[in-house]
């Protein structure tokens, strides 16, 4: 009965996985694809998963690889949500429409800037901002702590400059 056991092993980390996947990809569809792909790969290594003390770090390491490798096999995840939840991205504790519009604009700018980073940089930022320690990040990425810190810093600087450049440009331009 591998399946119930797998569910038990993965279920506690689903939120962490999805949150990181969302930060990695910037949208729900791709985030779900990442989570599914992580489960597909993890399932084939059930024996390993079973023995781990830190299954979350291991699952996130797979998520990192899936993302950095470019989610090549996304066609194999035909399992999609239906109806109800695809459009309900926002939870009920919504800000006012104005705040929401402003936040959405900021989000779009951020996601646009993130898309200009390379996947490795982006992945480091995504996982770091989810609250993981440098030690956890080194375990996920197989980078040494020094290299990791240096890359994180460079990625932040680059993102900050992209955002600043974007901020100076007019947000809306009238098209003649």
């Amino acid at each position: 009965m591998a399946h119930p056991e797998f569910r038990e092993l993965v279920a506690p980390h689903l939120t962490a996985l999805f949150r990181s996947a969302y930060r990695l990809t910037g949208n729900r569809h791709d985030a779900e694809d990442v989570v599914q792909e992580v489960c597909v790969r993890a399932y084939t290594h059930l024996a390993t998963l079973r023995t781990l003390e830190q299954p979350k770090t291991w699952l996130l390491k797979i998520a990192y690889r899936v993302f950095v490798d470019g989610l090549r096999r996304r066609t194999r995840s035909p399992v999609r949500a239906t109806g109800e939840e695809l459009d309900s991205t926002r939870s009920s504790d919504e800000p006012t429409p104005e705040e929401s519009a402003e936040a959405e604009l900021a989000e779009r700018r951020l996601l646009g800037a993130l898309a200009k980073l390379d996947r490795g940089q982006r992945a480091l930022l995504a996982l770091q901002v989810e609250g993981y320690t440098v030690a956890e990040l080194t375990a996920m990425t197989d980078l040494s702590a020094d290299v990791l810190k240096a890359r994180l810093y460079r990625a932040r600087v680059r993102l900050g400059k992209l955002l600043a450049a974007d901020g100076k440009a007019p947000t809306f331009a009238l098209v003649k």
Partner: protein, 402 residues
Amino acid sequence: MSCNDIASVLDTHRAARLAPAERAKIDLHLAACADCSAAWHAHSELLALRVPPVPSTLLERALLASRLPQSAPARRARVPLVVGGALLAGAAAAAVTMSVLREPAPIVSAQAGEQTAAPAAPVAADDEPATLGDDAGSAPQGDGVTSVELVETALSIAPLVRRPPDYPPDALKQRLGGDVQLTFDVTAAGFVENVSVVKSSDAQFEAPAVRALSTWRYLPRIVAGKRVASTGIHTIIRWEPPSDNEPPVDQRLEDAKAEAYLREFVAFSSDLEIALNRLSADDLRGAELQLDQMQAIYGAGRPDLLGFYGYLFTVQGNYDRAIDAYEKTIAAFPTPRHQRSAPWIPLANLYFARHQYDAALDTLVRQRALYETGQINNEGENKALIAKLRALGLTHPSLEAP
């Protein structure tokens, strides 16, 4: 304060809880250092990104995806997949043919309380004339409860979600077919447990059979209005190697069809599992809503969906709607042959429970008419009901044992 210190504050998630003095030093550095200022700004923007809540069905879908066959589908092998007893024709996605046997389940009196174990013999293969095993005679013969007052509500379990087992690679290479006979239990929530192999034609088929069967889901049997576990159910999974002498076909077209079919099958199964999970959690309304939604997506004429409605209405105690749904289910099967796997016994039992004894008898006669003379149909399942009807003076020549 150096650039390294700034980086360290960010790396260690301390930016939000700095002492005022440290904060002042940082601000001083940020004002002078464009890089650190950019990094700091980027970090706070990243923190502000709102992450949507985890989709409620993500776990189910991810688990399902993890169990999909991982290798490329073998060419030109047929997979009639059975969902809810309905044979989905034209499948060509994976490499296994499952000849699905109807699992017999005894009809247990509501009064009897503890039910006996299911009979040990697989009854009717859907492709061949049924041959009853040696132990068929020991199948429960009903329990002598024939009083009109005793309303029978026990229904047989029905398979709902089946996924094909993997084809053992060596066997496929050698074009070796095989079969495995298994026994298993179904929990009251419809999960398969305690799978064990009774016998197999070849040991290499055993592991994939057990693995696949363990993921199957059933609509659990209903006894006296409650969903209950069933034990000792038998089934046979059969592998048939792809045939060599099929006419040449456009392989790409076939692959595309297989792919499309598999996609829909997976989506459908995953949606069906949502309904099953809600049913298991006694969220009957939620299960019905899910079925309604599925009807909108997959069409109103699917026997597997209609059969699920029949089951759900039965659980709700809404027998008239259940009867209506089951009649529609039977009508939705494309051919009389397919109709053999329709929910005849649940329907007949429901008619009996509603005191429509003629309709109950008629249902059994309609079922019997789908088989040849001398061919045995689900003897173990309907014997008890036939006996009860006979006790009421209701018989039909076609239902009498030869």
